[in-house]
């Protein structure tokens, strides 16, 4: 119950689709989605495999609560060995696609091998077929999604696809579903492209059963009330979206600016939530059109925006005049502060292009920031880039988004990601990331815990693996001092383990601004076989974390990769509350390893492995 109990195995080399029973023993140990799919991946691939080889696999996985009536129950994840990082990759997406997969009766789809020709999977309940995708190859996510719906004459089909970037091997291609929701990070779309898999289209009408429907209704209704009554999930997020953070983090002195040269951005207020709601002088409208919700979500943090038609980016491009997925905080930071661009409409345009062609706006913006620093330092010139790439250049941002989305011109070099790009030009120290993946929107000098969370994140630098910002800045569940490193190892571990469980449930991590695991447990317990308590969920989370770690260790990562760029460890912040501070990673890391039950080399001890049943 709650689990559909079966998975679809698609052998792209042989062109076959086969149903298999889900391993229910593993489901009890790893719950679903992130945890369960990671277990399958770890069992089935060589950790040392080249991410773009046919021997890598790509799994789309729902959680047990996906498709139920719980709030935010539309989530699914894409799990693979990441093209950007070579580490375990797991990117989570909302929208409606995950719900459709579950309603078609599948917990997950495992793609293996490589198709000879471009194909897409058409899945209508039990009927799975690989179809020729020649007509969609070379087209954007937007055209592919519309084209598939049109071809099958069914607007209710849900589609997850890659854009041209994923076909061309841009290292940070996403899988985009429902036009602008993305499994965004680590290059999961690049892996999909390497398999010649253009899209997955699903129509599901079966419904999702739960163990005890009456108790589940009571538990999910009570949990929805918690979300509605909470000032953040009930009012703050629907009204302002995540973009409210732009001014908060800037004031805190932890808004990485111009490739982390600075940690405060004078243009922050021009690109945040308040700016999105400001009436424009040109057309009397606001950038923000409305908020939006993923399947079953009672929070509705999503942004729908419309670009000013008089803005240079869309003057000759009417295809971008409609309303579409607007800026979230992390994207706005990367496209804006990281590049020094304070033009909200240009950021919105670049964001539309990221959705249209399926590129991760975080890595794109951060890599462009690194390229801009290379340009300003004279390491690269217009000879390579084809245009001026100075910090703050809104035109360069828009043009580079278009080029990177198609993997053309200097966009193909941006498409390498900042690690390979800066290595290529002999300045690796300018790559602002961990394990090959770029930082998101918080500076580890001004917020100490997030620095440790980045350094130890299993999928490379990421805020969503342990969002200590909740505690260090917002005071959820308790306020801690962002400038203090004491106590942060335990905080990071607690966030990492709890998040791994949440990511395996089918629900959205944003619920955790109001819910604790005590709110998740009764819903999972009423829906799923077995007894599910908050303690058990935390242990499942810790098990998942250690499983991911052992995969990375076997793939060749070591303690030396739990590191931060020298800029964060040596160059003190110059302004704001963190003035004079660097990240105190070397103080936090040994304590973190100890709390995790790992050796000084970052390897889980035998005792830890057996305690967690690994």
């Amino acid at each position: 119950m709650a689990w559909a109990g079966k998975l679809l195995r698609v052998d792209l080399t042989a062109g076959t689709c086969k149903s298999e029973p889900l391993n229910m023993k593993w489901a009890q140990d790893y719950l679903g989605q992130r945890g369960l799919a990671t277990k399958y991946l770890v069992e089935e691939i060589d950790p040392k495999v080249d991410p773009l080889s046919p021997k890598n696999k790509l799994i789309m996985a729902t959680g047990p609560l996906t498709g139920t009536s719980a709030s935010t129950a539309g989530r699914y994840s894409v799990i693979t060995k990441g093209a950007l990082t070579g580490a375990i990759a797991c990117s989570n997406s909302g929208g409606f696609f995950g719900n459709e997969m579950k309603n078609a009766g599948w917990d997950m789809i495992i793609f293996e091998g490589k198709s000879e020709k471009p194909v897409y999977l058409m899945l209508e309940n039990d009927d799975a077929r690989l179809m020729d995708a020649a007509e969609f190859w070379g087209t954007s996510v937007w055209d592919t999604e519309e084209g598939i719906k049109h071809k099958h004459g069914d607007p209710m089909i849900r589609v997850a696809s890659i854009g041209v970037s994923g076909e061309k091997g841009v290292k940070f291609a996403c899988v985009v579903n429902d036009m602008h929701r993305a499994a965004g990070r680590s290059g999961v779309g690049t892996v999909m492209g390497s398999k010649n898999l253009k899209a997955v289209a699903i129509r599901g009408t079966k419904g999702v059963k739960v163990k005890d429907p009456k108790r589940f209704l009571g538990a999910s209704t009570a949990a929805k009330k918690v979300l509605a009554d909470n000032a953040v999930t009930g009012q703050g997020l629907p009204a302002m979206g995540t973009q409210v953070l732009m001014n908060v983090i800037n004031e805190t002195g932890a808004l990485p600016t111009r490739n982390h040269r600075d940690s405060q951005f004078a243009g922050a207020n021009d690109i945040g939530a308040e700016a999105m709601q400001k009436v424009r002088e040109t057309d009397g409208k606001t950038n923000l059109v409305t908020n939006a919700a993923c399947f079953g979500c009672t929070i509705a943090c999503g942004r729908i925006s419309q670009i000013d038609r008089t803005h240079f980016s869309v003057l000759e491009r009417p295809q971008y005049h409609g309303a579409s997925g607007g800026l979230e905080y992390e994207a706005a930071w990367a496209l804006g502060a990281a590049t020094g661009v304070n033009d909200l409409e240009a950021l919105t345009f670049a964001n539309f292009v990221c959705n249209e062609q399926g590129i991760d706006p975080i890595t794109f913006g951060a890599t462009l920031g690194a390229a801009m620093e290379l340009f300003e330092d004279g390491v690269i010139t217009e000879k390579q880039t084809g245009m001026s790439l100075k910090f703050g250049d809104a035109k360069a941002l828009c043009e580079m988004a278009l080029l990177t989305g198609k993997g053309e011109g200097f966009g193909a070099e941006i498409g390498l990601g900042s690690k390979l790009l800066t290595e290529k030009y002999g300045r690796p120290e300018l790559s602002m990331g961990v394990k090959g993946q770029e930082f998101p929107a918080y500076d580890g000098r001004g917020i100490q815990g997030i620095g440790l969370a980045y350094a130890t994140s299993n999928r490379g630098a990421c805020h969503l693996r342990g969002y200590t910002i909740a505690s260090e800045v917002f005071g959820i569940p308790v306020k801690t001092d962002p400038l203090e490193s004491d106590g942060k190892p335990a905080l990071v571990k607690a966030f990492q383990d709890a998040t791994a469980a949440v990511d395996s449930s089918g629900l959205c991590v944003f619920t955790t601004f109001a819910w604790t695991l005590e709110d998740f447990a009764p819903q999972i317990d009423a829906a799923c076989e077995g007894e599910w308590t908050a303690e058990r969920l935390l242990q499942v989370g810790e098990r998942i974390w250690n499983l991911e770690r052992t995969f990375n260790n076997a793939a060749g990562f070591t303690a030396a990769d739990d590191n931060l760029p020298q800029r964060l460890l040596k160059d003190a912040a110059k302004t704001g509350p963190a003035t004079g501070k660097v990240n105190e990673l070397s103080k936090m890391l040994p304590e973190y390893y100890q709390l995790r039950g790992w050796t000084a080399e970052g390897v889980p001890t035998n005792e830890t492995m057996s305690r967690l049943g690994l």
Partner: protein, 83 residues
Amino acid sequence: MQITLKLYAALTPFLPAGAHNNQLDVEVSQGMTVGGLLDAYGVPRRLCHLVMHNGFHIPPDKRDARVLSDGDAVAAWPPIAGG
């Protein structure tokens, strides 16, 4: 002395006339506190969830004791989160 008052999100409507980019430099008397400043501009205390003085977080029980100096900045938000 002059203080920069910054109000964001649902607190924006409490900004005095003339504010630009969610902030305004205001004249206050010596001895003014963080809490006193927010009161003076009619910002309801129950809505002031996140309050910063020069970027440093000031919890509710410290706001009346924190005295301002010329050139300081006070920023306030209602309950917010994101990510």
